[in-house]
């Protein structure tokens, strides 16, 4: 392998590292909310734009996570999970359509 070839490989390696690292640095997280005994736990979570909110329904009845601003309406069958990616900064209030006293909030930052 010549010096030029080595440099080329170095460039490829750097480019690859860039491609792999950049998203890794901005890696979106998954924030889990348990749904148990008709309660979102925790009721309040914070997230960054691009993060995923995942609800795990431990109850034997179906629920929903429905945003007050109608930005999402996630069905949560008994024993199942559902998720949404938050795309805008701000506070999103949500509730269960079937049991409206079940309430939660997501504080989304840039």
């Amino acid at each position: 392998m010549t010096g030029g070839g080595g440099r080329r490989w170095a460039c490829v390696a750097l480019a690859l590292a860039g491609v792999l690292l950049l998203p890794a640095m901005a890696a979106a997280e998954t924030i889990t909310v348990q749904v148990a005994k008709l309660t979102f736990v925790p009721a309040s979570v914070t997230a960054k734009v691009g993060d995923t909110i995942e609800w795990v329904n431990d109850d034997f009845v179906a629920h929903t996570a429905t945003a007050a601003d109608k930005s999402f309406d996630v069905s949560l069958a008994p024993g199942k999970t559902g998720s949404v990616v938050v795309k805008r900064a701000g506070e999103i209030a949500y509730s269960c359509r079937f049991h409206p006293m079940m309430k939660g909030t997501i504080e989304v930052t840039e």
């Binding site: 005994k37 008709l38 109850d59 034997f60 009845v61 079937f98 049991h99 006293m101």
Partner: protein, 176 residues
């Protein structure tokens, strides 16, 4: 048994029945009786929801009725599984009989209604019925339950039905 008496009084008023004998005045209910009352109360609401599904053309009412069938069937499934596990044989009792008698009267009344009048009467009845059942659960049935798992299921049931009561209030409010 004050709550059960109130439950019956509330239902009686609602369902325009008179001369109701309230049997729940007896001693506090046993676990087999509580299981029977809970199961009966569930089935009454499922039957009412099925009538609404056949009768109503209102989307909010239809959606609510579907929620009632789904949730109450889920609760019943849990209740029957728990009864089998604990070897509790649900036992018929005067409170269950009174509930059924009143439910028949309500059903007969609702069956005479159509359109918006039916929707309003059904939604109002759902508010009152869930409120009465929730009060009975909270003040009589849950405190009287002896088995911890039965008490726990009734407590979860109460939370579910409180959700229904609030949901019913929202639906009834929109119909005004």
């Amino acid at each position: 048994m004050k709550a059960l008496r109130r439950l019956s009084v509330a239902l009686a008023g609602l369902m325009l029945t008179t001369g109701l004998s309230l049997a729940a005045d007896a001693a506090k209910p046993t676990d087999p009786q509580i299981a029977h009352i809970a199961y009966t109360a569930d089935n009454i609401d499922i039957a009412a929801a099925k009538l609404a599904l056949e009768t109503s053309k209102n989307k909010a009412v239809q959606d609510f009725a579907k929620d009632m069938v789904r949730d109450h069937e889920a609760v019943n499934k849990q209740a029957l599984a728990l009864a089998a596990k604990l070897k509790i044989k649900p036992e018929d009792n005067p409170t269950s009989e009174a509930l059924l008698k009143q439910a028949d009267a309500t059903r007969a009344h609702l069956a005479t209604l159509k359109g918006a009048a039916f929707d309003k009467a059904y939604a109002d009845n759902e508010v009152a019925y869930h409120h009465a059942v929730n009060t009975a659960l909270e003040t009589t049935l849950i405190p009287a339950a002896q088995n911890a798992e039965l008490k726990d299921l009734l407590t979860t049931g109460l939370k579910i039905f409180k959700g229904h009561e609030e949901h019913a209030r929202m639906v009834a409010g929109e119909l005004k």
